[in-house]
Assembly symmetry: C2
Homo-oligomer: 371 residues x 2
């Protein structure tokens, strides 16, 4: 394919789902695992805790020794200061908080009430038994998961490898200035989606054997096959070129000679942004084992103004959230492009089957949530 | 203060809001600005685009020359190939897409219909006039903001400095193993909240003049002032020690001798996690100019089971989302601590004024959204 087409967005997405599959796992130190995705279940190798431990900082005692203690019958017991998480010394089976205990000069504890066996003790296996599932394959590791895994004494975890994204921006004679205007946006998005960026000239990107995916900012649009699209096609197979998406129609889908999935992105920044959001996001997140959906929360709200769209084309409509709980289109895209995207609180994807929405109709918005 | 107290959570939060204020700004290259917070408004230094530019890849022509062109009167015009974003050559004022134009051997374009002046042209200033606000102070920079700022030709932006967080984990004789179990969780959380981690022994952390905030994992709980809390207090002022929060009551608030705000966090991992989430999050995010609220989305849903809580104590209750749209407490905290946190989809903060909620009552959940 080097002819320009306008395939439905759904067809392009199906292409991605066929071409981009979850990468293999690698073992990574726990302290570098934050935000990454587990490639396999993590189970407790031993009970947590592995022995009876103090649940709080305090004085470990043998509870039975306190039997009969009372205000009129203070008992003096051997005690050992322990810190939370520390194993209880032999024969000790309860922990008295420091503020409830008096110590004599010999470091023994004076109790005026009996202590219950097991109080303030984390019993062997009380958090998890050996073999218990701590975090399932596919979990994106947050601080709380790391806390639990570390508590199991596990130092390394199997993580889905981060996708290596070969990026060719200044291809096909596009001026360097134009590349400079797209680079910060695209690199930030790739990093947000978990990719490792390797920038190279076009020919090198297409020949790279280390790429999990190749992004070429190159989609020249209808009719311009002499330079960009054909230069790519020469070193690759282009299955789809052109999607019924506005902005972003000049998006292409294929494979490099080295067999990596390759996406052509449009050169104009606004079209590049939305092409990335609709397609590259999904490809990179699938490779990295992440949820392939758009990384924004979804909410259905009435639209404060009419949204007009063309049948047969999927259209992106940036919207603002209003205090009254309605969404309002920022402006016509044709007018202000990136300004509309930057000023929006989110966007509505109007499907190809829709002519748009009348004022007051419920629309499904993808909301940015970056504060 | 070195006595243990149980001040209301609200009082501790008010302390943080007084102690942690937004840091100053620094100039940063655009390609390192993703996810960071603008310290000042960014305005367009010149109109965007600065001259009339091609909106698409195509052939630039002088529209008036095409007047009278038709299927029976094809006109041959001088034309220049341009790429999207490129300045139009002198006298050119419209762009014809490649697929609508035929070229003769001399590289002139043959038109069979007239071209409208300004078509496929991004006019000078059409995205923004000089001085227009591109992104406001306080904006957390996402790809779309970077795209717009780069389009303005701006290479460096004023960003709120990332807070330097001095972290002392293995203080006060706590065993190294215990520190190792807390470190991955705490470091991941600090990085998530935009902090730069500088780990040091306690004495060094308390004396550090480069710290924007000091976190000491040290809160030993009631009665234990001889080692940890007092060691801190000796080198610092402790305004609050102990909060009516479960888990997490052994949290302290003060200043180091060098004047930096200092938080004592409980040593047991579960208490440490929730103390961090309720208090340290807010302090670090305020310093960094970010939204100080918990970084989770909020939703009000009925609870599928009774939630029991004590009057006078703010309690954290981890919950799971059920397919029927209700939330369900994972388990009693006392039982499984970190396991409950790791398996939850979010949590409910039960205020000190509440005894909990009956089954079916609406509760406000903070939902993790990490996929």
């Amino acid at each position: 394919v080097s002819r320009f087409d306008r395939v439905p967005v759904e067809q392009a997405i199906a292409w991605i789902d066929g071409a981009a599959r979850c990468l293999e796992s690698e073992e990574v130190e726990l302290h570098q695992a934050s935000g990454r995705v587990l490639g396999a279940d993590v189970v407790a190798p031993a009970p947590i805790p592995p022995v009876d431990c103090a649940a709080i900082d305090g004085l470990a005692v043998h509870a039975a020794d306190s039997l009969g203690a009372g205000a009129y019958n203070p008992l003096t017991l051997p005690a050992t200061a322990v810190m939370a998480g520390e194993a209880l010394p032999d024969a000790m089976d309860a922990v008295v908080p420091f503020d409830l205990a008096d110590l004599d000069d010999a470091g023994r504890v004076i109790l005026v009430e009996p202590v219950t066996r097991g109080i303030n003790v984390d019993r062997l296996g009380s958090v998890a038994i050996a073999g218990a599932l701590l975090a399932a394959a596919g979990t994106r590791l947050a601080p709380r998961h790391l806390g639990l895994i570390a508590a199991a004494g596990i130092a390394r975890v199997p993580l889905v490898r981060r996708p290596r994204v070969r990026l060719a921006i200044d291809s096909a004679g596009r001026p360097a200035e134009s590349a400079n205007r797209i680079r910060p946006m695209l690199c930030a998005a790739i990093e947000r989606d978990g990719g490792v960026i390797l920038e190279s000239p076009l020919a090198e990107a297409l020949a790279a054997v280390d790429a999990d995916i190749v992004l070429v900012v190159d989609g020249a649009g209808p009719g311009r096959d002499q330079a960009s699209a054909s230069a790519s096609a020469a070193a690759s197979t282009l299955d789809i070129y052109g999607v019924a998406l506005v902005p972003g129609e000049a998006t292409g889908f294929g494979h490099t000679a080295a067999g990596a999935p390759m996406l052509l992105l449009p050169g104009p920044p606004t079209a590049c942004l939305w092409s990335y959001e609709l397609f590259s996001v999904r490809a990179i997140r699938r490779l990295g084992g992440r949820n392939p959906a758009l990384p924004y929360r979804i909410r259905t709200m009435p639209t404060a103004r009419k949204i007009v769209s063309s049948i047969g084309t999927t259209e992106i409509c940036p919207v603002r959230l209003r205090p009254d709980g309605e969404v309002e289109p920022v402006a016509s895209f044709a007018e202000i492009g990136l300004m509309a995207a930057a000023q929006a609180d989110g966007f509505v994807v109007v499907p190809a089957t829709s002519e748009g929405y009348p004022r007051g109709a419920p629309v499904t918005a993808h909301l940015y949530d970056e504060s």
